[in-house]
Subunit: 341 residues, 4 copies
């Protein structure tokens, strides 16, 4: 850690910082020119970082040069984590395609989508049983009934199923039915939920928050790994910016950056990111080209009558076209579809 | 609702939209020139809004002209809501000043702050027992032990106490100790928590999310009112933007806008918004000048050794100076400090 | 255009809007339910749009359903514009790769880069003679001397050259040396410069502003086309968001969207967008996969000693590797490198 | 300057950085623990900063601890700059209120506004003769004819006049008529224009760019001061964020921050920032409470028929009410209206 003092900070101001550091058991090394003094700090990372020196007299800036995460970093584990679940795997060159509707509406809907997804080559099935909605007047999902439908549909076609936990109290029941537990963008910093998922025995799909930095996403994943659960899949799904043409701004440079920073698999959700059906195909291609380990795509048998996210959902036919479109890209990137069988 | 068709949309495309609308029990009124057709939709708001027509062939844009909230709006209730709790009240010209540390660290710390807060003129006491932290390695609060300290400190000086619920499972226990339940920025769209708080009998202080629009904040409050709990206080605490000099960007125009749109009290948290002690005083003044019904200010007996948010915390002396500074502003705005006694 | 009146707008308020519309020669069509009145407006687009009705009593919102641009739109011209300059072309399946240093530093530097660029397969050469710099103390370019070096280097290898006009007064002199005139992000809304470039006989490479929407970028291009110059190439180079890991946030969904909205070629600048050398290759791939018509890449013979943008510049060797990396992507997308010869 | 090496950077990587620093005439001081090496750099600021070491092997981050500006800083000049022009002054406790229409439309319009502005207590008159417009089809101003009208109107009531220079080629002609030259948000980083204004003998009103940081605004002002022109007034006018309820997000914490960082006067433009007439009054109050040295307010005799920015313009009556509203705020802040006479 470095403490940058203000220009011409006084001797007592500097001494005071040094004293606080020593009090905390850290070593302080002073360096500086005529104008600036800089204090280099060496000591136990957690203790030193817990000091909040920013507001002290004479202090201009405190720079934490060590990253706030450890277990998720490439420094800790150089090799790619591969998350395996049933017949599917993701990471280390195995590409996941997770397809399904925004919300589970009926057994028939799910079974139709499941067959279409499997036939087109998806490796996992998704569907929401609990829906976070901005307005309390919108459709909020079928809850456990929906989970059952998802499970049945997944079993019918032999695909593992992914679904979102929007309330920590549902984690157990969701885990009874689902193979992968999704944490939505709004819950990325629901730290107690992350703690709980860290001690569960199910892979977690962690979506980036709407205004979360790359570092915050990695820190959120660190919560889960710290609890002992190493099977975390990260998902870039667009960040909120001033641009309104697309629902969010898909940050594909973050995907490439994450692949360098972490060993965890990283997938892309172009459906939520763009909010526009006609941008899903190009963003699937671009996501894979950026190095993503997978895609999450909304598919609905009848998007026009979908209860949620119709505008960005693909028909089964359109999804099949996307799968054909991306197949050569998967090869070109030296990867393969993540089917174990 | 209006459906704007693309330029030169075809007759079958237009007919298809009309058909879906009629299927849903709504009336469709067509108007348009040579280039554009626009379909005006009249029908039950919730039904019509649930239709997601954006992705249909020929549809360019769907405009929902009715607001997504109702109970929180001035149209529903013209008069200001006044939230009363113990000796304090906020709204309708009553100004709240909520002071206290970011995190509760010890009984002595809380009692010292409580006296300082009361003596300087604060109307409520705050302190965090459960702390959401970006890193799993940071201090996360004293939990129930902290709640007890807060309650004791509040009782010692006769101030109602405010504290955050970060996990819905804690709501009951927090409610045993606290007078007002705070929902933090990260939980603003934790909809199940909002549902639960809606059926509780305690006022809620709802903070705006880091990337939440004004409309989303109001929709989140709508969840609570819809559950039957009318005592909601909104809090502007800065939004996330590209500017890094301040921790967040305090959006005071949102305060003025909220005062027009809703009858609920609106307060400002300049400590979290700016992250800088030296900007707290001017932002307190500016917040009140913008029409805020109150302020939330971090005060710590020894900010240099605070376990959390030290850089933005005021000493008791600095807080007293802020209180003297804002007193004439409170009068100038035609308001008064919200003490019932 | 649609005028959405506030809930329960009064009869005189509605009449007043209608009157102003009629005064401007437009027709007003009223529709609405009990709560809302909506006024559909038909009339001359430019006249109607010039009316600014937003602040009138009873008016809630004014929605302009026609786009603010025309000549750049696919509605106006369905076929791709292909910009041809010397041996190179871009658009309509022809891919441009524009390589070169941020700033021109010497004849030798330029000649070395030019050979490396040509040998690796670039189709155009770039280099800055006038540099916009945030600080007045930074290196600001060699001006006309630099233009000469760029021209010589381009001629030596037979590549057309691209350089930025940062001051409208330089446009003529730059045009004497350059084949394509670049408008930088900071000048995207320098409307008088756009006007001037519109009447010149040189292709223009127009970069998206740091906080410009897709619609604003298209409107800026409209200025140039309106002046009579049809040879405009758009460039996505990252927008400014809260994320600081990358210099800007590369918005590849905007590339895909632009390809739908306009017939103009669209290229991507991953060097400026990310500010990180190690993200250039994946973003080149992803840009092409998103449908871009080309790439702009910073290459410097000795990035460590570059006077500008060293951290994001590639060595000639690294650039060669990128070119090899993207070759199969160019084929996969059904496109070809834009060499005329 | 500090160079933070990556964890476990190799000896040759570290040596290489040191060598480049020494080559540039700087001194390098190494410090570090087992994991991290940090290189402190001392040398000539401009030389050292021109080195772009970010992309070197083993380098994680380069931190420039000295500010990129000097002349505008409080370190360079502790006392407030007071800009005086004719009967008016701004800075050092003198408050400017600059009123007038977005665009100059006719002599009568300007003369009416001028009288209303003066009678209500404004200290300066504004009006646009050249208008930057997103669309080439919008009204773009009366040019020199408008400048004459503005001058006449100002002289009639004895108020100095402010108007925007949108093209550097107009600077001379604008300076013939105007007392203060405004640089609009879109031109904040038009560095050649800043250079030119730096050598002119007229005060400059410099508006913050839509996506400019506080530091970039100060660096832009540095350009002007470096040229020799010390009379610069900064203007906060809202930044672009995800919030769409207001046109931009008024950043009042930036005003308070600027007052600490620079000796230059800082004013606020609530009209452009909010784009909503009904938010102008509260943001005028809040701006002054935040410490602003003045306000810029759009006033039009007939906003409904304004050619530009009608929705945010005040009628003369509404402006008079704002002036009455802010008078006690001006006193409360210990300031006074900036009339010299």
């Amino acid at each position: 850690m470095l403490v940058i003092m203000r220009d011409h900070a006084s001797r007592p101001e500097i001494d005071h910082v040094v004293e606080l550091l020593q009090e905390a058991g850290a070593q302080a090394h002073l360096s500086g020119g005529e104008v600036k003094t800089i204090i280099g700090v060496i000591g136990d990372r957690e203790v030193v970082y817990a000091l909040e020196l920013e507001g002290l007299p004479g202090v201009e800036e405190v720079i934490r040069v060590l990253k706030p995460y450890k277990l998720v970093g490439r420094d800790f584990q150089a090799d790619d984590t591969v998350v395996r679940v049933g017949s599917a795997s993701v990471g280390g060159g195995d590409i996941a395609v997770i397809a399904g509707p925004c919300s589970i509406e009926s057994q028939e809907q799910m079974s139709v989508v499941a067959r279409a997804a499997r036939d087109a080559g998806a490796t996992m099935l998704r569907g929401g049983a609990y829906k976070p909605r901005s307005s309390p007047y919108a459709f909020r999902g079928l809850a456990e009934e929906g989970l059952k439908m998802l499970r049945i549909a997944g079993d019918e076609v032999g695909l593992p199923v992914v679904t979102e936990v929007i309330d920590v109290r549902d984690a157990e029941i969701v885990a009874e039915y689902a193979d992968i537990l999704q944490v939505g963008a709004r819950n990325m910093q629901n730290f107690r939920m992350l703690d709980d998922l860290g001690s569960m025995n199910k892979p977690v799909l962690l979506k980036r928050g709407l205004s979360a930095t790359i570092e915050e996403l990695l820190s959120a994943a660190e919560y889960i790994l710290k609890g002992g659960n190493r099977d975390v899949i990260l998902c870039e799904r667009g960040i909120r910016t001033f641009e309104t043409y697309t629902r969010n701004t898909l940050d594909l440079a973050a995907v490439a950056a994450l692949k360098q920073l972490t060993h965890l698999p990283v997938i892309v959700d172009p459906s939520h990111a763009t909010g526009r059906r006609d941008l899903v195909a190009p963003m699937c291609r671009a996501g894979l080209a950026a190095g993503a380990d997978g895609l999450m795509v909304e598919v609905h048998p009848d998007p026009e009558r979908a209860k949620c996210d119709g505008p960005q959902s693909l028909t089964p036919e359109a999804f099949e076209a996307v799968m054909k479109d991306i197949a050569p890209m998967v090869s070109l990137m030296g990867t393969r579809m993540g089917w174990s069988a």
